[in-house]
Symmetry: C2
Subunit: 432 residues, 2 copies
């Protein structure tokens, strides 16, 4: 479904008749205009929202932004254009010539020939003030306007770029994309509290059950992907997943997007880690090269210094240590932890942070976790005296655990034994 | 989250030591192997599932498929490799040399030097028979195996290609991708029956409400996108949407994926239709050029002749007629319709089919629908005597309505009047 909030009608009258004097002005985005090399008076039309107004005796300076980039385009107009309607927040259409800017702040500016106000903005009613940096908590109150701020604009552009990069990476690597179901009757490995789904009219007809069985929002597409990898070898999904955990932390959302992949015929964790490292690096590099200014802004105000750390990560090969080595490193640490590191216990956030720092702020794969910590389907390493499985987690500076994965147990008798010990044989009969 | 069902362990022992006689065999997909021009004895490893076995006196022919393409790779082996384990459905790893095939059926074949059975298949227990074409209803019983059939493999590869093409199209056209929420408290324009969402543990604590208000699965991201288009100008989403309509037809699914886009500053339906036509053509051309064999199979067994029709559509410009013209065409038709065509009434499937045929099996945009048929936010054309809005539907041969869209009403007093008439002023106060 498509739509367009058509904000400008006045233009229509002139658009049907050809303009005799000039070639028609090409409509370009702000990003497109700013990217013009050696601007030489090209006639263009730019549409967007006014970010700032500076009125001088004979000249009017506007900054216009259309969300295509963090930077705004400087519009230079004759003071005769000055009007009360050209205010912070108003939407405008500007026709004019792209020229080299005399200022060092930008390469290009737009010499306005015509400015139309598409939509007024009542500056008094508008909740954001010009040049003011509003805290994120304040912006939360205006979900329909907050994406017009620099910070949320940048975050959403970065997210959009990363999403596209992830799709491209898997496509270029020969993976088949699968839309795994959102409504499902299985709860995967009991990854958390579930949301149940029922038709809202069910209240009226309580004896009727829409799907015949109770259904939930998916917590993971893993089981569906495993089935699909038995047909396509390499598959991935990138869809919404849900957890009904009622905790207020930035690590627990009710709804979030997750990338999941399954590969058949994989022989070692090494191959798996290579896919993970490539995915991380390709995505990060795409974002860095396609929206460097957005990254800079985010890292200036949200995670100071993170951009340098990211570039440091991209230059180096990721490290690999075993869970057992990780516990040894933690035991020898001079730092005091809230949770004492011990073989067989989960790694806590404080441990993950220490490990990453210990490794020189380079992402580190931790492999071969204790069997007791991991779900039944991970491949038994048959080692001793401490029993481990071929699982891997990727710890990343500033994030903690980013990816997790494992070789899957394919040997039927191992699965049978393990399920029997866990008392799950009946529930997972179909796996066998 | 990543995983790999590791099916082959035997190989590991030899992978760590370098092989003295040969260069290591590169692992290639079946698609990759089939695409080699002038095969000249390259040493490769191919993994996949056996699709057919033909044993002759001195030679054994296998067809191996890994899901990367519809076609299988022919493996030619010495009869000494013959074993009961090399059966239909088994998974194998084959090392050998890629050579030119003497047969005209394929360019390339794999001369096997080593064949490992990764996973046995009990042909008696396997529900699909070799060379048999099973009806789709039968395949439905085996959701975990059916994607190994030609027909479902093709459909899912086509879907994956189309998904990637849609993402690329919007990215290349400067749209920002937005993940609109799946769990939401608004029901858009009342597009249908809703699914309600509650934590499954709620049954135990009935007085507690997870989100404080009733929440539903989204029926459309349109309202969220409209807000976002006010910041980024051009935005799109491609996510799951839900309808709780309890009807068993191929047009009504409880869960389906929908592409939605919003564009600010759009001046005419013409511009909107251009985006729709480009999206359709780009996606169709990508699918046709990236998986022609899959398309052929689908169109041979699911929609006979559809491929030619598709190519016919791609060669021609789409047509545009007004709703009023469409009704005139239907009234003058020699065909008898179940629903008599009349100005002011919805176009039914039979009408859509007739219109598309009448237009020479080329997709046709129907524009300017009666105001009474469309939701309040579509732009009033202020025409007479028959009152219409600037809405557009794209009718496509073999499909019916594929896209719908409209210019959005931006004039506040029009919205107020319309909402008042519909008695919706209070519910939609926030729009104004």
């Amino acid at each position: 479904m498509f739509g367009a909030r058509c904000l400008l009608r006045a233009l229509r009258s002139c658009s049907s008749a050809p303009c005799p004097r000039h070639r028609p002005a090409a409509r370009v985005s702000v990003r497109g205009a700013l990217g013009v090399q050696n601007a030489n008076g090209e006639r263009v039309t730019v549409q967007g929202w006014i970010r700032s107004v500076r009125s001088q005796k004979e000249v009017l300076f506007l900054h216009v932004n259309d969300g295509s980039s963090l930077e705004s385009l400087q519009v230079v107009a004759d003071s005769s254009f000055d009007s009360r309607e050209l205010a912070f927040g108003s939407s405008v259409e500007v026709q004019g010539q792209l020229v080299k800017s005399p200022s060092k702040k930008q390469n290009v500016e737009l010499k306005a020939e015509k400015i139309e106000v598409v939509g007024n903005c009542d500056a008094k009613a508008f909740p954001f003030k010009y040049k003011e940096r509003h805290p994120l908590e304040y912006l939360r109150q205006y979900p329909h306007l907050r994406c017009r701020t620099n910070i949320l604009g940048s975050i959403l552009r970065v997210r959009s770029e990363a999403t596209a990069a992830i799709h491209s990476f898997f496509k270029d690597s020969g993976f088949v994309h699968i839309h795994t179901p959102v409504i499902t009757s299985n709860d995967c490995e009991g990854a958390g509290e579930l949301f149940q789904v029922e038709p809202s009219s069910k209240i009226k007809v309580p004896e009727e059950n829409f799907f015949n069985i109770p259904v939930f929002l998916t917590v993971s597409g893993q089981l569906h992907l495993e089935v699909m990898s038995g047909a396509f070898t390499q598959v991935f999904t990138f869809g919404p997943t849900f957890r009904a955990e009622n905790s207020q932390s930035r690590r627990h959302l009710a709804e979030f997007y997750m990338v999941e992949a399954e590969i058949s015929f994989l022989e070692s964790l090494q191959d798996l880690m290579q896919v993970m490292e490539s995915l991380f690096k390709t995505t990060a590099m795409t974002v860095l090269s396609n929206c460097p200014k957005d990254v800079e802004l985010c890292h200036k105000f949200i995670a100071p210094g993170q951009k340098d750390r990211l570039e440091h990560m991209l230059k180096n090969n990721f490290l690999i240590i075993s869970y057992t080595e990780a516990v040894e490193i933690l035991k020898q640490a001079s730092q005091n932890f809230t949770f004492t590191p011990e073989w067989g216990a989960d790694l806590h956030t404080e441990h993950e942070k220490y490990l990453v720092k210990h490794c020189g702020d380079i992402p580190v794969f931790v492999i071969n976790y204790p069997r007791a910590l991991k779900p039944f389907y991970m491949r038994d390493n048959e080692d001793g005296p401490q029993h481990t499985v071929a699982a891997v987690d990727l710890l990343v500076p500033g994030v903690g655990e980013l990816f997790g994965g494992s070789l899957r147990e394919e040997r039927c008798h191992f699965l049978e034994q393990r399920l029997a010990r866990l008392g799950l044989t009946e529930a997972y009969q179909w796996v066998l």
